[in-house]
Subunit: 360 residues, 4 copies
């Protein structure tokens, strides 16, 4: 990838850094707190949740009650002076207003969709309204760590990727950059766990509506397609799009992308293996093996597998199928965010993220 | 489809018919018993399960204990004289031996894979050994009711389809027959519940191995591909194959196939709507809507949905994505088997199969 | 129990009866529609859902879309003239107002909690406000069919039991009536599926909050305790209460009650076996066997099991543990409601309810 | 509890210690490896699995493939010279033979049931055969850390508790020792996740047999009752038993015990609060609050809750209900084992166990 993994681990400042989590009452906020609670260099200075301000974090998330966390406050109550970095886990659209109001000297890792798309017109098309903070959007670095490491190191504002987007980008970006697949023939079928939809009380997310069944969602066009197009095109040096259908799978965590491409499986496998050889969080399985979301659960890992498709093209060329698995709350959101924060702060990139997956 | 649905309902013999279920200790066998227990024309004369012979059905399946069923016997103990039709729910390979030994005047609905493939060489390739009952294989009618109704009406031996195969064939056969999609560009990504793997004590089917995660299986080539190729090619009048990946989804029942094709969504939708307009068990949802396996659970229904793909071909032609949902134990196995038995016996085709899906 | 099961099946009016389901947009409403769709004597004349009036039932519940159901209307739009019986599946508290406004000649099976408690003071205590329809409350018959059959046959208004209550009453009422257990030493620990909480978009019912874990709820006192006390006391001829804790289990359907009592297991088992010998929907398993909710899923059945407790009382007397399993949407709600409607109409009691449980 | 938590953390030897995991192909073995992979003082020197010897750990547990673990070997192949401590995660009965053959200078933390019961006759009664290593049994210390800390510190062989036993002992031991409940009136109803049954391919543990339902198991008498009786009696100074029913809950991890006792809730709550005030892994929730297994998932924590029972004794005395939640693979098995290993080695007791629970 773009740079070595542990660039300044040795030279890092030994002093601890203070962070805030904005939107700590959502699942990605809670996951950040879980990770931060054992992080060697970060301390939690503030947790905000406007509608639940005044409550203890342990009332909102009992699994974190024993951690001695600061009480939830509103964003306005936060003392930004004492804070080095902010994780912003707020809903889309409100995020751009909140971040615009934050001091310019605060480093920010944003987990919303607000700063992922570089082209304001594309943003307006997919999100239905003009962007309200164009300077910030221009400044933001796309948070797919392995591909933007130098930029993230210098960034003030890093925009976390979509969780589905990350799952599809890892298997495809190296292939498009290396020109080993046909950029006009990419199909992504994806299954995603429920936690990606957040902790919002919506009928279609009830246990009874989700358990014991599977169905596609966002079939008219999922917003992460815009991210695919942006990053695919950057990697390929021309416009690239894809067919993309996500499905809601009856599980808490985990995304599996199954990617159908035109290209030789062996070349695909070699390209991915080489691309991620030095990456601490990515594994490319042996050719012919496939990953499971169970094997990355709770970890910051992404596992990739490649198999030759029995079907060949009409002209006899090969096709390949690639599988990509990650935990949407970790490598797809909060783990990625912490990885980026580590890079921004000059810490070892794996700090606080070394935990092995939890199975079963 | 090939014929009207209720051809001889009026002329049917009012006498009840006696059936046996061979392999009643598996899930498809139990599902047959569930359906037969309220069937208006069939009585259960015998239940066999060689390894559990002597046991009460209620010991093997407590949910059926109240039905006053005959005790489990071996196949050898079965009195075939008194039986009109046999449902054969035995494992692959052993089935062909068992059926070869049955009297020629017995009607048989087989749920195994043994008689699905018309070409002995194809069978040998996919199942790894020569077929042991070639005459029976030649005689067997493929059990996709809506497409083989006249043949099934006259058949002695009907071979139930693979459950994954049925899920993929319903959306594609009318399109290939009507030539509204490119037969060289078919991709099927499928999610299947666990009951399709049967009641066998295997490590990878344990709750702890399946729950809370999703993964592909049979990635080197699932045997149902042979069924796809056989039936696709028959419908298209030329050889047709597809890219196909099934995934194991953490749910008891239900298969969802997501099918990516080259063709205009509107034409695809119209073709399917027309093809299944008179079919009692198939519903084509409005264009742009997608089905869920939850909505067919426990029923003999198959729901289809069509959406236009945002991606177009390089030359600007349209692409479509089709979704197909059914219950693997019902329309994918035992419900289909009973539907075929109804046809073979001249009963109304929906007899015993009118139950609405169970949700949640 | 109190009467024979099929009292007037032979003399029943052959004409079909027309029913309405008020509150058809909830799970119990949908389950009623599922059952009514194959009922031999009832036709669905109207479906109401005030907030979703104007929609097709298939938009609200896609699994029922194929049934050709009437469009959802408001209660005010309902033509009560043409209706013989109303199933009222509305929320608590609003129900009493709605039913008060219905014509007096309409038979009503209510599934809410509004008319379960005979004592207005007890109602006010548990529900926090005075009852608004005391005459109706006085008139209502408690809908535990097996114990109130003669009253239900003559009733105009039948009040469906709580689903947890039914699960605990079946194992205990015969024992209290027969005086084979100590009425002062009853402990009920219960696990309930999520559908009992209805289709309301509440955070604690989200898939992510429920899956992969278990926890007690309503620990300060569940309202069904009032039903236990009312019916236990009636059976015992003196005031009887119990310790009761329900738990939310990660499953759609099913309640299992585990009941700890002081009494000899053999006598307990014999008493239950005899009590339910003629009941079509209750099974008492052999002594030492235990039921599972899986084995009653989707059916109107209740399975009971008895085992001797290893622990004896200090004075050496025996203790027993009784298990009771039913499907909360069926025998605990909609199945029970239909059973009662059958009794009220003089139909065979099992009409429309003969379906075997669905497993897996 | 019996001692301070971090007795010799300061004086600990800074050198790393080498451990082996015997039976690394089971769930508790894998969980140990997960924990050890980030432990500050332990290195994994050997992993054994007789039937899978020669395989990579990553073939057996893909979620651990990236850890660079030693290849699986047989126990005979293990070089005990280089090892300081052995975790023994082998099946019951075979364990005693294996441990008998290990060198006497090896510290051992056993996770099987073989050394939990101090009385050989009790062992023989519950396990159906005489114990084969009586000297070891006499030497073994019961591994409920908080109650045996001084003994564990000096122990060579520590016997891990049953996972159900631990869940019931935490809420009850302090109460029996403090005499605030009636020792003759203890009822434990427990729900346990599936991973407690291990990774054995048994029909009743299949996904399809477990999902979407709940049922009791081992109703004739679960072996953990013997542990309850042993430890209850020790705490109370007289023989104490209990009514005990475990249920299999459709979830991977987590045990919830609901304990019904005679005693005043306030005194119960105060006693537990005081008993565990200094314990790093135990939390007593505020009076009237209840824990969920979700809130301890993946962590070494045990959460306790107390509520007053509405039912009082006939003489008017109070009753209380206590809830206890832990993760069976962690505090109920591998986490406990590592905690004990830390104590045995003089490490800080929480080393490698500080990870917060994972939710959702």
């Amino acid at each position: 990838m773009s740079d070595s993994v542990h660039p300044s681990a040795k030279s890092q400042d030994s002093a601890r850094r203070r962070v805030a989590v904005l939107g700590a009452s959502g699942y990605t906020g809670a996951e950040l707190v879980r990770l931060l609670s054992t992080h060697p260099h970060f301390d939690i200075a503030a947790l905000t949740a406007d509608r639940k301000a005044g409550k203890l974090m342990g009332e909102v998330f009992p699994h974190l009650a024993h951690l001695g966390l600061p009480r939830l406050i509103t964003i306005d109550e936060m003392d930004t002076e004492s804070i080095d970095l902010v994780f912003c886990a707020l809903p889309h659209a409100t995020t751009q207003k909140v971040i615009s109001a934050l001091p310019r000297d605060l480093k920010i890792v944003d987990l919303s969709a607000d700063f992922r798309l570089r082209d304001p017109e594309v943003y307006a098309t997919w999100y239905g309204h003009p962007h309200q903070a164009l300077e910030l959007q221009a400044e933001a670095v796309y948070g797919l760590t392995e591909f933007y490491r130098p930029e993230i190191r210098e960034a003030r504002l890093v925009a976390g990727t979509g969780c589905n987007a990350a799952t599809g980008l890892y298997p495809l970006l190296p292939l498009l950059a290396a020109d080993v697949i046909d950029p006009d023939d990419i199909t992504i079928s994806l299954a995603a766990g429920v936690s990606g939809a957040g902790r919002s009380a919506k009928e279609h997310l009830l246990y009874t509506e989700v358990a014991e069944g599977v169905a596609p969602y966002a079939i008219a066009g999922h917003r992460h397609i815009a991210e695919f197009e942006q990053e695919f095109s950057r990697a390929a040096g021309r416009f690239v799009t894809c067919s993309f259908i996500p499905h809601l799978s009856p599980q808490n965590r985990g995304i599996l992308a199954t990617v159908f491409v035109q290209g030789e499986a062996k070349a695909v496998h070699e390209t991915l293996t080489e691309a991620y050889a030095e990456e601490p969080f990515l594994s490319v399985l042996p050719l012919g093996a496939a990953p499971s979301t169970r094997d990355v659960r709770g970890s910051n890992r992404c596992h990739l597998g490649v198999v030759a498709d029995r079907r060949r093209t009409q002209s006899g060329e090969g096709r390949a199928i690639i599988f990509s698995a990650l935990d949407n709350l970790m490598k797809g959101a909060s783990g990625q965010a912490l990885q980026n924060a580590n890079v921004m702060m000059g810490f070892e990139e794996t700090a606080g993220l070394a935990g092995a997956p939890m199975f079963p």
